[in-house]
């Protein structure tokens, strides 16, 4: 009898709770997605009159046709991709000796990389603005790429080091015996073998750069404005005719990263867990 109850009740509770979590996670996204394909009049009315017949992508089209939104998406893409590449190159170069080689004061390096992860961006934002102004880099892609790379590198190094640590020494030793240089061993053996980990790290860096807001807000004014900053400007402005346009922009700001997460979710899960192992 107890077993029977258990078998009957367990799935009900499991699915009810799982359903609640799915709704909790998806509802805010689904609502903005709904708003982005319906005319404002439909969801402003009480009760909302959502209709399949009115579904249209024209708000997306309208926003993409606006040069500043298209430019913001392009800016975010350039910045995030460049940050990702720099993070991987510099990160792999630094993670390799930390994982494999003799390094003077290695512990000092490891501690420094942990401490630099803790520094909140609010401390850096004013001086960073002044430094970038001094370097005449304000409102350029480069300034944001530099800032994001610096900020993400400690995480990236840590993740890559943890992935490299899992690769057996013998593999590398064999490559070295076959005449591979140390750098050759890094790029021909370590990185390919750590493949999934490297993918996870790359996605992590890309998303980190794409989603950043504070530095984008302060360091860009016109030409380098990323999509997160553009969206925040749209939300608070009263000049747009239709809230569906803002909703569509919000969707445009998350579609690339959400797509990445859905396609590469297995790698990401591993990468995230690896990033907090000390």
């Amino acid at each position: 009898m107890r077993q029977f109850l258990y078998d009957r009740v367990r799935p009900i509770i499991l699915y009810a709770l799982a359903g609640f979590f799915v709704i909790w996670t998806v509802a805010p996204v689904l609502w903005i997605a709904t708003m982005s394909v319906q005319p404002e009049i439909n969801y402003v009315s009480v009760p909302p009159k959502l209709s399949l017949a009115d579904v249209s992508l024209r708000w997306y089209g309208e926003m993409l046709a606006q040069t500043d939104v298209a430019a913001a998406l392009q800016n975010s893409l350039i910045i995030a991709l460049s940050t990702m590449v720099l993070c991987l190159v510099f990160g792999a170069l630094a993670a390799y000796p930390l994982s494999r080689l003799q390094l003077p004061r290695k512990n000092w390096f490891l501690t420094a990389s942990i401490v630099s992860r803790m520094i909140p961006s609010m401390v850096l934002i004013i001086p960073m603005f002044l430094i970038m102004r001094q370097l005449r880099l304000l409102d350029t892609h480069l300034s944001l790429i530099i800032v994001y790379t610096t900020f993400l590198l400690p995480y990236v190094i840590w993740m890559l080091k943890n992935f490299f640590d899992q690769i057996p020494y013998a593999l590398e030793a064999a490559a070295r015996m076959d005449g591979c240089t140390r750098l050759g061993a890094l790029f021909r053996v370590m990185i390919p073998v750590a493949g999934p980990g490297v993918v996870a790290t790359a996605v992590f860096a890309f998303i980190g750069a794409w989603n950043e807001f504070l530095f984008g807000l302060i360091l860009s004014t016109r030409f380098a404005v990323p999509i997160t900053v553009k969206l925040s400007a749209l939300v608070s402005s009263t000049f747009h005719s239709d809230t569906s346009l803002v909703a569509a922009t919000g969707m445009l700001a998350i579609i690339p990263v959400v797509a990445l997460v859905f396609v590469l979710n297995r790698y990401i899960v591993r990468g995230l867990v690896e990033g907090v192992k000390y």
Binding site: L14, I125, I131, T150, V258
Partner: protein, 293 residues
């Protein structure tokens, strides 16, 4: 080339970036915090020593943010910890569709905090919020509520939005920790006649403790850094209702242009966060030790 020199060479690009764009700005911020810099009045730096720091303790605006920040952090910690614990327990069970749910719950992690602020703003919007529509159709309220007019409600929504975003990550680390519990412990406890609650209380929970504390500390840190979500959700409103510590730093720096005072605040915040992070790392070192032992 000798191995350690070669290793050092490889880390040079990182060292360069960290020194120029991390260490230098922090030093810069520290010097600014020792000066009175009111850009609305003049561009001059006026050395005042630690006055900006002592000034924080008597500044009414700073003091007002303390209960708000505590409430925000408290709610965020409770919601995130309980929900991620519950979700991790579910995902640790075998059932059909589990892998799909695992993918879906990652969604908030990918969404930029700024966008999550927009989403929650639209969920609770006074004229087109889903919450208003649902509550009305269920007959719970008879006319649309202006949720963001009430500071406590607005602050709670901000906290929920932050917890929403934090759920996937904290669930993943809890799940990883749960999967480290050896199956034989469960079998042994089952043989001893333990039911599902006993097993949770005496096997799962003790094992999870360091991870739970880690999640709590992590959420305190993220609450102290809350900015993006509030910026698009409420802009600090109604009045000063959702101005938490980190948000006030931003307002002081970029709206009031009190650079010295803002720097002092941000340095204090950074010290607090570094201390808390140190604690969280200490805990997760314990986590690792436990997993091994």
């Amino acid at each position: 080339m000798d191995e350690s020199k070669f290793g050092l060479l490889l880390t040079l690009p990182t060292i360069f970036l960290v020194v120029v764009f991390l260490a230098l700005p922090i030093t810069y911020a520290f010097f600014m915090s020792l000066n009175q810099i009111e850009l609305t009045i003049s561009p001059d730096w006026d050395f005042v020593g630690l006055k900006n720091y002592t000034g924080l303790l008597t500044d009414k605006r700073v003091i007002d943010t303390v209960p708000r920040t505590l409430y925000f952090a408290g709610l965020n910690v409770i919601v995130t910890t309980l929900m991620s614990l519950c979700l991790a327990l579910i995902l640790n069970e075998q059932f059909k569709g589990r892998n799909w749910i695992r993918v879906f719950i990652l969604l908030p992690w990918a969404v930029a905090p700024v966008v999550s602020g927009v989403m929650w703003r639209y969920m609770f919007h006074q004229s087109y919020g889903l919450i208003n529509a649902l509550l009305t159709s269920l007959g719970i309220i008879d006319k649309y509520v202006v949720w963001f007019d009430n500071p406590t409600v607005a602050l709670s929504i901000a906290s929920f939005a932050t917890a929403w975003k934090a759920l996937p990550f904290s669930t993943l680390i809890m799940l990883a920790s749960m999967q480290g519990i050896s199956e034989s412990l469960f079998r042994a406890s089952k043989m001893d006649g333990a039911n599902i609650f006993h097993r949770f209380r005496y096997v799962t929970l003790p094992h999870l403790r360091p991870t739970l504390i880690f999640v709590v500390v992590l959420q305190i840190i993220s609450s102290l850094q809350a900015f993006d979500v509030i910026f698009t959700l409420t802009r600090g409103g109604p009045g000063q209702g959702t101005v938490v510590l980190n948000y006030l730093t931003f307002v002081n720096a970029f709206e009031r242009l009190s650079i010295g005072a803002a720097s002092a605040m941000s340095i204090m915040l950074a010290v607090l966060i570094v201390l808390l992070s140190g604690l969280s790392i200490y805990i997760s070192m314990g986590r690792k030790g436990k997993a091994k032992g």
